[in-house]
């Protein structure tokens, strides 16, 4: 009996040990190695890093005030569980998710939120929206440990979105007490955040290492023990590293996709990360009056001459989609996506015969000379290939394309000032995938924006005025249905000018070694994986389906 008892006890103990220990050991193990083309500024201080870098590597260790809708893309809960706008439209109240802690053990409270937002707006901040925030945010108040009230100078419907990592990096939450205690210098060396990964080491120009938090996290508890992000600028090397298993995941471009698939790698595509577009500069200016591209129908004809399906199939290897109208996506807020999808499929069709006919009707039966600036924004090098492809298509309808290639850094200055070098030109451009359309429209069409594609303050004609009016109305419209109607109207007005024309909706691409990581899904519209790593399983946990 006694012996039996001993035996039973031993068995129970053994089972308990066996049950407890392996859980712990199996729970988080191994290293997840991610090879990426750029680590941006490679600093762990959120106020020193722009959007892409923030989303690639800062996101893993910092949480954002507003988070993601993981399924659909766009805005969802983050550090704040919910938020609401006061009836006058001037105060946003954010309700912080309880029980969050920083990696040093400090509790995450409303004070940290206030501190972080103010730090983003502060003098040393390189945040791109710092100036806008300073202008629009009147005050930030702590109304209890888990409540923050943000007062704005005018109604700011888009404020929560602009504090979501789905849109911008400015919502990153930093530890107030810690930074105040150790100072900025030390914080930059030993950063502390509240995300599912803790900072370990930053080797400039080479890598950043993180280790998983062991406690549960609302974003998900990582399945790997370590996370290493490698800076590997050369794409063919990144792919080679995934093939040899030196890295589990690598960011790639569409041109490498086919090779990666043939080499037995899994290729993951993230839908709706960007739109490749082309646009016409200064068509409203008097000096361009007689130029063919000053004519709406000529611009439309150029769109009809583009075989988007070919581009998607062959340049993007099938991993891209027919676009919605400019700067809109399936997840765009306050937007009749289905209606516009139908519209776009018709409007952006391939009809070279019609294109030629229109050109002839407009007085260019033998085509004309089109000056086209080909360029690619950082991170989307394939835009050059798209530009090359559409230039060829234009050539085939008889347009003589003068192609000039610009590196982005030398293209960007051209669009400022009087835009003389670009006036009368068409160029490649891009819009990043984000849910708030009006912000982007403002940047392209507003008479006081940099691009001012419809006209400037001194020369704002019909479409320009109509856009201006609609945009203003949108700024203070709180009603959902009316807001949607206004957005649709804004899209319609601008789409019909054919000044900014989408080519395709692009995706983010990753080559994956299935022996190193299990199957996972990215967040729609979010190219970078910074908010995904914690949900990536180990290969044995969830093997890839063939």
């Amino acid at each position: 009996m006694f012996r039996h008892l001993v035996r039973t006890t031993a068995l129970v103990v053994a089972l308990a040990v066996a049950a407890a220990a392996p859980v712990r050991a199996q729970d988080q193990k191994g290293t997840l190695v991610f090879a990426v083309e750029s680590l941006g500024a490679q600093t762990l201080d959120p106020i020193l890093e722009g959007r892409p870098g923030n989303a690639v590597y800062q996101a893993v260790m910092y949480d954002s005030l507003v988070g993601f809708d993981l399924e659909k893309g766009g805005v969802g809960p983050g550090v704040a569980e919910r938020w609401e706008l006061s009836p006058d439209g001037l105060t946003w109240t954010f309700h912080i998710r309880p029980g969050q802690t920083f990696h040093n053990g400090d509790k995450l409270t409303a004070h940290d939120v206030k501190f972080s937002l103010e730090r983003q707006m502060g003098p040393g901040s390189l945040a791109s929206a710092a100036a806008s925030m300073r202008r629009t945010i009147k005050s930030i108040e702590v109304a209890g440990d888990l409540t923050v009230k943000v007062q704005t100078t005018s109604p700011q419907i888009g404020l929560p979105a602009s504090l979501s990592r789905a849109v911008a990096p400015e919502g990153a939450i930093m530890p107030k007490a810690y930074i105040e205690k150790v100072g900025e210098e030390e914080f930059r060396k030993k950063p502390v955040g509240s995300g599912p990964w803790k900072f370990v080491r930053n080797v400039p120009g080479d890598r950043i290492e993180f280790t998983a938090v062991t406690t549960p996290h609302w974003r998900g508890r990582p399945h790997f023990k370590e996370l290493v992000m490698l800076l590997v600028p050369e794409e063919s090397t990144r792919v080679a590293m995934v093939r040899t298993g030196e890295a589990a995941i690598a960011s790639i471009g569409p041109e490498t996709m086919l090779g990666a698939t043939r080499a037995g790698l899994e290729v993951l595509s993230v839908p709706g990360t960007m739109q490749a577009i082309f646009q016409f500069w200064g068509t409203w200016r008097p000096e361009v009056k007689d130029s063919p591209i000053a004519k709406v129908r000529v611009r439309q004809a150029l769109s009809l001459a583009i075989d988007r399906k070919q581009v998607i199939e062959h340049v993007m290897n099938g991993k891209a989609r027919m676009p919605y109208p400019f700067a809109t996506f399936g997840y765009t807020d306050f937007f009749s996506a289905d209606r516009w999808k139908k519209w776009a499929d018709e409007a952006y069709r391939y009809d070279p015969a019609l294109a030629k006919k229109i050109l002839a009707e407009e007085g260019y039966p033998n085509g004309f000379e089109l000056k086209f600036a080909n360029t690619a924004l950082p991170g989307t090098q394939f835009m050059v290939d798209i530009g090359t492809a559409i230039a060829d298509m234009w050539t085939k309808v008889g347009v003589k394309v003068t192609l000039k290639h610009y590196e982005w850094g030398s293209f960007a200055p051209l669009e400022r000032g009087d835009q003389a070098p670009l006036t009368g030109w068409a160029s490649m451009y891009r819009t990043a995938g984000r849910p708030d359309a009006p912000w982007r429209y403002n940047g392209a069409f507003s008479p006081d924006s940099i691009q001012r594609l419809l006209g400037d303050k001194g020369n704002c004609q019909e479409a320009c005025q109509e856009f201006e009016k609609t945009y203003r109305a949108l700024g203070s419209e709180l009603d959902r249905a009316k807001r949607t109607a206004l957005t649709d109207h804004m899209v319609e007005v601008t789409a019909n000018t054919w000044t900014v024309i989408p080519i395709l909706e692009g995706m983010g691409y990753y080559a994956i070694n299935t022996k190193k990581v299990g199957q996972f899904a990215p967040i729609p519209g979010r190219h970078e994986l910074g908010d995904v790593f914690e949900r990536i399983p180990r290969p044995e946990q969830k093997p890839w389906k063939k």
Binding site: A41, T43, A130, S132, A240, M241, A412, T431, G443
Partner: protein
């Protein structure tokens, strides 16, 4: 010798001033880094604010005056992109490049010098042409192409070597080969021509008259003299390597100064770019000076003068 070094140092200082001025103004012509830091839909207001934060809003000449003033005190500014003193960023990465270069030179010499000797001994024969062809092959292949092929063959297909990054000895193999192939031709050519010249010289005849064996004549009397011009190439080669490292470091994800320089250009990180080019020039100049001093020890004729 001291006067010689002093003169060289003076020349170096003048050179540095020229280089710094060129870099400063050339850099400023290339646009504002703010464009690369902001998203495409930023407002003009955000742009102006960021330009001011980065201290890029004054007239160029004022900026130059500030730059010169600080540079004299050894402060070459903060990297815009990394928010780190540019000098510090350079020295962080410099060791990574420096560990690569001696191996590349060594391998280049190990292949190039024997090829040169063999070619010289068999001047005009098949062996001469074969050695020449092998050596020239190294400069006939663009190094990025070679690097990518090497990765494909040795790490992807054969799985023998890692494809990139710094790490253990195995990580050095492919980058060093890529850098060295570029040098073989230079070493081979200069060794060959120097050997040919030396082999026809009277003192080699005298060495033979003494009855020395061919091995001693070739490898001691000839090669030692032929190595003098080889050594002078070092200075040039280290300079080439530091520049050549841009491509190699990019292909092999090697976090050295070549890669840093490239990034500085691409991101318009002016302070970093200035610092990198100035420091690189200092590096190249001091290596050249070092080689010249070393030269004096190898060639006794120079030592006295």
């Amino acid at each position: 010798m001291k006067r010689y070094i002093a003169r060289r140092l003076m020349q170096g200082a003048v050179l540095l001033c020229m280089v710094a001025t060129i870099v400063f103004f050339l850099g400023r012509l290339t646009g504002n880094p703010v464009d690369l830091m902001l998203p495409e839909d930023a407002t003009p207001e955000d742009r102006a604010a960021l330009t001011q934060t980065l201290g890029l809003d004054g007239p160029v000449l004022d900026q130059f005056a500030i730059f010169v003033g600080k540079a004299i005190h050894g402060d070459l500014g903060m990297s815009i992109r990394m928010k780190q003193p540019a000098v510090e960023a350079f020295f962080d990465r410099l060791p990574n490049t420096l560990v690569l270069i001696p191996w590349a030179i060594l391998l280049g010499m190990l292949l190039g010098i024997p090829l040169g000797v063999v070619a010289a001994l068999h001047r005009g024969s098949f062996l001469d042409r074969a050695a020449g062809t092998v050596a020239v092959l190294g400069i006939a292949m663009p190094s990025f192409w070679l690097g990518i092929l090497l990765i494909f063959v040795f790490s992807v297909e054969l799985g023998w070597l890692p494809s990139g990054r710094m790490g253990g000895p195995a990580h050095y193999v492919l980058p060093v080969i890529t850098l060295a192939t570029f040098l073989v031709a230079g070493f081979m050519r200069i060794t060959r021509s120097a050997m040919l010249e030396v082999m026809e010289s009277e003192f080699v005849k005298l060495a033979r008259i003494k009855g020395l064996s061919e091995a001693v004549v070739i490898w001691k009397h000839c090669l030692r003299n032929a190595l003098i011009p080889v050594l002078t190439l070092w200075g040039v080669f280290v300079g080439n390597l530091i520049t050549g490292a841009i491509v190699t470091e990019t292909v092999f994800a090697w976090p050295g100064i070549g890669r840093l320089t490239y990034e500085a250009v691409i991101y318009r990180d002016f302070p970093l770019l200035q610092a990198v080019i100035i420091l690189k020039s200092i590096l190249i100049l001091s290596i050249n000076l070092g080689v010249d001093i070393l030269y004096a020890y190898v060639d006794p004729r120079i030592r006295v003068t």
